[in-house]
C-alpha cells in the first residue's frame, strides 16, 4: 500500500511538471475537494442546514403545517417570561448538578475498585458496563415498573425494612431525583470504562517509585494517579454535562414530564411545544436557548483547558 501511494505521488509530481502551475493548483484542490465533498455534503445537509433552518424557524410563528409568520425575536421574549420554561430549565439544572458529579465520583470509585487483578475481574467490568449499553427506553420501562407506587419491587423491598411505601413516580417531590438515580445506573458505566482505560495508562514504575519514596495509598492517589487522570476527568465532566443537559428519552418513557410537570426538562419542553402544541417556532427558540447554553459551556471549558495547559507547562 505504502509503495503504491509513493508511486502515485511520484507519478503525480512527474505529471505536474508538464502542466502549467495554475492548472496544477486547481487540479490538486479539485482532487482534494472531491475527497472531502461527500463528508461536506453530509455535514452540511444533516448538521448545518437544519441548524440554520431552526434558527430561522425560531424567528417565526410556525406550526410546520400552515404558512409561517415572521415575528422576529418575539419567541425569545416570550420564553424569558414563561414560567413553564423557567421550571424546565430549573429541572434540567438540578438533574445536571446531581448527575454529573455523582456519575464521575461513582465512576472513579468503581474504576479504582475494578483496577486490580482478582478473579473474574472481566465479568465484574462487563457487568458494570452492561447498563450503559441498554437503551434509555428499555431502562425507563424497566424502572417505571420497579418504582410503581403500589405494585413495584422497590416498595416491596422498603416494606421489608419497615420503611413506609413511597410515591416514587407518583410523587412530584421524588420523581426528578428518581430520574437522576436511573440516569446514574447507566451513566456510571461509561465513566468507569473511561477511567479504567486511564488508570491502565499510568505507568507502573511511577506508582512503584512513589511507593519507594514512602507514599501511602492516599498520597499515591493524590500525587500520581489523580494528576494523570485530570485530562480524562475534564473530558468526562464536559461529556456528562452535555448528556445531562440534553436528557429526554428517559423522561419521555417514564414520566412524560409528570407528575404535575415536576420532571419537564428542556428538551422534553421543546418536544411538547413542537409536537403537542404545534408551536414549532417557539420550540425552536427554546432549543436555541439550550444550544446557546451548550456553546457557552464548551467555550468556557476550552478556556479553562488552555489556562490549565499554561499552568502545567510553566517551568
Amino acid at each position: 500500500m505504502g509503495i503504491e501511494l509513493r508511486a502515485a505521488v511520484v507519478s503525480r509530481e512527474a505529471a505536474s511538471r508538464r502542466r502549467p502551475p495554475a492548472r496544477r493548483r486547481f487540479g490538486e484542490a479539485g482532487t482534494a475537494w472531491a475527497y472531502i465533498l461527500p463528508a461536506c455534503v453530509v455535514i452540511l445537509g444533516l448538521g448545518i442546514l437544519p441548524m440554520a433552518w431552526s434558527l430561522i424557524l425560531s424567528l417565526q410563528r410556525s406550526d410546520l403545517i400552515a404558512p409561517a409568520e415572521w415575528v422576529g425575536l418575539q419567541n425569545y421574549d416570550l420564553l424569558s417570561h414563561d414560567p413553564a420554561f423557567r421550571a424546565a430549565v430549573g429541572h434540567t439544572l438540578i438533574y445536571t448538578a446531581l448527575f454529573v458529579p455523582l456519575s464521575i465520583v461513582g465512576g472513579l470509585g468503581l474504576a479504582l475498585l475494578l483496577n486490580r487483578k482478582i478473579r473474574f475481574i472481566g465479568v465484574y467490568r462487563t457487568l458494570v458496563f452492561v447498563p450503559f449499553v441498554i437503551s434509555a427506553t428499555a431502562q425507563g420501562v424497566l424502572f417505571s415498573f420497579i418504582f410503581d407506587s403500589h405494585f413495584g419491587l422497590a416498595n416491596a423491598v422498603l416494606h421489608w425494612f419497615d420503611i413506609p411505601p413511597q410515591g416514587f413516580f407518583a410523587d412530584k417531590n421524588q420523581a426528578l431525583y428518581l430520574l437522576v438515580l436511573i440516569g446514574l445506573w447507566s451513566g456510571v458505566g461509561f465513566c468507569v470504562v473511561v477511567y479504567l482505560a486511564g488508570l491502565q495508562d499510568i505507568q507502573s514504575d511511577l506508582v512503584e517509585a512513589a511507593a519507594l519514596d514512602g507514599a501511602g495509598r492516599w498520597a499515591t492517589f493524590r500525587y500520581v494517579v489523580w494528576p494523570a487522570l485530570r485530562p480524562i476527568t475534564v473530558f468526562l465532566v464536559v461529556w456528562e454535562t452535555l448528556q445531562a443537559l440534553q436528557v429526554f428519552d428517559l423522561v419521555f418513557v417514564t414520566t412524560r414530564g409528570g407528575p404535575l410537570e415536576s420532571t419537564t426538562v428542556v428538551v422534553f419542553y421543546v418536544w411538547q411545544q413542537a409536537f403537542e402544541f404545534f408551536n414549532a417556532g417557539y420550540a425552536a427558540a427554546a432549543a436555541y436557548v439550550l444550544a446557546f447554553g451548550l456553546l457557552l459551556l464548551s467555550i468556557g471549558v476550552r478556556f479553562a483547558r488552555r489556562r490549565d495547559h499554561e499552568v502545567v507547562s510553566r517551568p
Binding site: D63, A66, F169, T255, G257, L260, F277, F278
Partner: protein
C-alpha cells in the same frame, strides 16, 4: 499491490472520482427533482390508472384486515391502485410523521389521524375538502354515527372519513365484587354510587383498588372527565370559542368526584404513559371497575376475567358518554387522486367492510345501518359487554375539533392528575386549569 498498473488499461483515479461524483450528485439531487416535479398529474398513468398512497398506521390484526379490504377493492376497481402501508409508524406517531411529511411537501393521499389531531392537521392547505363528495344522498353520509361525522368535520368542512369509533363504558370485575360482597352496578347508576362502590371495593391490605385513573396528565387522563361535564350541562369550549365551557359548577363538580376517588385512595393512579398498568391490574383481579373502551375487551377475555359492562354513571340520569373517533384524513395531491381516495374510502366504510373492520379489528360499526345488521348483531353475541358499547354509540358525543384543543387538554390534565393524586383542592385545580386554557384560547 506493489506493481503499478499502467495508465490507460484501468480508469485513473480522477476518472474514478469524476464518475463517483456524478453518481453521488444524481443520488443527492434525484429525490429533490422528483419532489419538485409532483404536480396534479402525478400518480395518474397514461391509461387512466390512478395510484393513491395510504398510511394506515396499523399492525397485526388491524393491518391484516386493511390488507384484505384493499385486495378486495383492488379486484373490483382495477383503475385505482392503492398503495397501502403503515406509513412506517404506528397510529400513535402518525401526527409527527404527517407533520414532517406536510412540511416536506411529499405526503400520502390518506392517513390515519386521531380525532383530536385533525383540527391541527386541517390547518394545512394540503388537506382536502370533501364537502362536494359527501352531499349526494348515495354517499349516505348521515348513516354515520353523529360522533363519527363530527370527528372529521373542522369548521363545518369535511376533511376525511371516519376510520374507527369507540366510547367509554365501565367494565367491572365480577370476582372482585363478589369477594368484597358488593352488589354489581346497574345500568342506571350515579357518580355518587360509583365513588361509594369504589371505596367499598378498595382493600389496601390485599392490594385491591376500586377503580383506576391515568395520572400522567395525557389525553387518556382527560377525556374521561368530559362525559361528567357534559352530563352536568357544561362544555369543553363555550359558544364563542374563546373560553372554556367548564369554568363553573360543572367543572367543579366533576373534579370533586375525581378528587373524592383520590382522597379515598380508591383509584389506582397510573402515572406511566399509556395507562397499561391500570388495565393489567384490572385483568389480574386487583381492581373492581374501570372506565374503558371496546378495545380493551380482547385483553380482558384473554386474561379470563369474569367481567360485565355497564354504561358510564351519570349525575342527572341521562345517558352520556364520549366517543374517541379516529379519521381517514384525505390530502390533496390533485383532483384525480382525491376523487380516487374518496372512492376507496367509500368502499372501506361501506356496510360489508364496516362489519368486517369492526368485527376483525375489535372496534365498533361506523354506520347506524351496520350496527343494526344481522351480521353485527350476531357478532355481539360472541363478546360479553360489546352490546353495551354498541348501544352507547347512539348517545356518544365527541370532543370539539378545534386547533387549540391541546391547550385545553394539557392544563385540564394537570388539574385531574392533582385530584387523582389527592393534591390541592378542586377549586384551586379548576382555577389554574381554566386560567391557562382561557389564556391559550384568547390568544387564538
Amino acid at each position: 499491490m506493489t506493481v503499478r498498473q499502467p495508465y490507460g488499461s484501468v480508469p485513473t483515479r480522477r476518472d474514478f472520482l469524476r464518475g463517483g461524483l456524478s453518481l453521488a450528485a444524481l443520488a443527492g439531487i434525484g429525490p429533490i427533482l422528483s419532489a419538485c416535479g409532483s404536480d396534479d398529474d402525478s400518480g395518474v398513468a397514461d391509461d387512466g390508472t390512478v395510484t393513491i398512497t395510504m398510511w394506515h398506521g396499523q399492525n397485526e390484526q388491524g393491518k391484516e384486515t386493511i390488507d384484505k379490504i384493499v385486495a378486495n377493492f383492488q379486484s373490483k376497481n382495477p383503475k385505482i391502485k392503492v398503495d397501502a402501508s403503515s406509513g412506517g409508524v404506528l397510529a400513535d406517531a402518525m401526527l409527527q410523521k404527517i407533520t414532517t411529511a406536510l412540511s416536506g411537501g411529499s405526503y400520502p393521499d390518506i392517513a390515519y389521524i386521531f380525532g383530536p389531531d385533525i383540527a391541527s392537521v386541517a390547518r394545512s392547505p394540503k388537506v382536502a375538502n370533501l364537502q362536494s363528495f359527501i352531499t349526494p344522498p348515495e354517499a349516505k353520509w348521515d348513516d354515520f354515527f353523529p360522533a363519527a361525522r363530527d370527528a372529521v368535520t373542522v369548521d363545518g368542512k369535511v376533511h376525511g372519513f371516519p376510520a374507527l369509533i369507540d366510547n367509554l363504558c365501565v367494565a367491572y370485575n365480577k370476582k372482585v365484587f363478589k369477594d368484597a360482597g358488593v352488589p354489581e352496578p346497574t345500568e342506571s347508576w350515579t357518580w355518587d354510587e360509583f365513588v361509594a362502590t369504589a371505596k367499598r371495593l378498595t382493600d389496601p391490605g390485599k392490594g385491591i383498588f376500586g377503580t383506576g385513573w391515568p395520572a400522567d396528565g395525557g389525553e387518556d387522563c382527560v377525556w374521561r372527565i368530559y362525559p361528567m361535564i357534559w352530563d352536568l350541562g357544561g362544555a369543553i369550549v363555550d359558544d364563542s370559542g374563546r373560553k372554556v365551557g367548564f369554568d363553573n359548577d360543572t367543572g367543579l363538580k366533576a373534579l370533586r368526584t375525581v378528587h373524592q376517588l383520590g382522597a379515598d385512595k380508591s383509584a389506582y393512579p397510573d402515572t406511566k404513559p399509556g395507562s397499561e398498568t391500570m388495565y393489567q391490574i384490572f385483568n389480574s383481579n386487583k381492581m373492581g371497575m374501570i372506565a374503558t373502551g371496546p378495545w380493551q375487551l380482547p385483553a380482558i377475555l384473554e386474561a379470563k376475567v369474569d367481567y360485565g359492562v355497564v354504561p358510564l354513571p351519570s349525575y342527572s340520569g341521562q345517558r352520556v358518554t364520549i366517543a374517541g373517533p379516529d379519521t381517514w384524513t384525505v390530502f390533496d395531491n390533485g383532483s384525480a387522486r382525491v376523487k380516487a381516495a374518496v372512492e376507496f374510502l367509500q368502499f372501506v366504510t361501506a356496510a360489508d367492510q364496516d362489519v368486517q373492520w369492526a368485527t376483525q379489528a375489535g372496534s365498533l360499526p361506523l354506520r347506524k345501518s351496520t350496527s343494526e345488521s344481522a351480521e353485527w348483531k350476531q357478532h355481539l353475541q360472541s363478546t360479553v359487554g360489546l352490546d353495551v358499547f354498541s348501544n352507547a354509540l347512539g348517545y356518544a358525543r365527541t370532543r370539539p375539533t378545534i386547533r387549540n384543543y391541546p391547550r385545553i387538554s394539557q392544563p385540564l390534565g394537570q388539574a385531574i392528575t392533582k385530584m387523582v393524586l389527592n393534591q390541592g383542592t378542586p377549586e384551586e385545580a379548576l382555577q389554574a386549569a381554566v386560567q391557562a386554557a382561557n389564556a391559550a384560547l384568547a390568544a387564538g
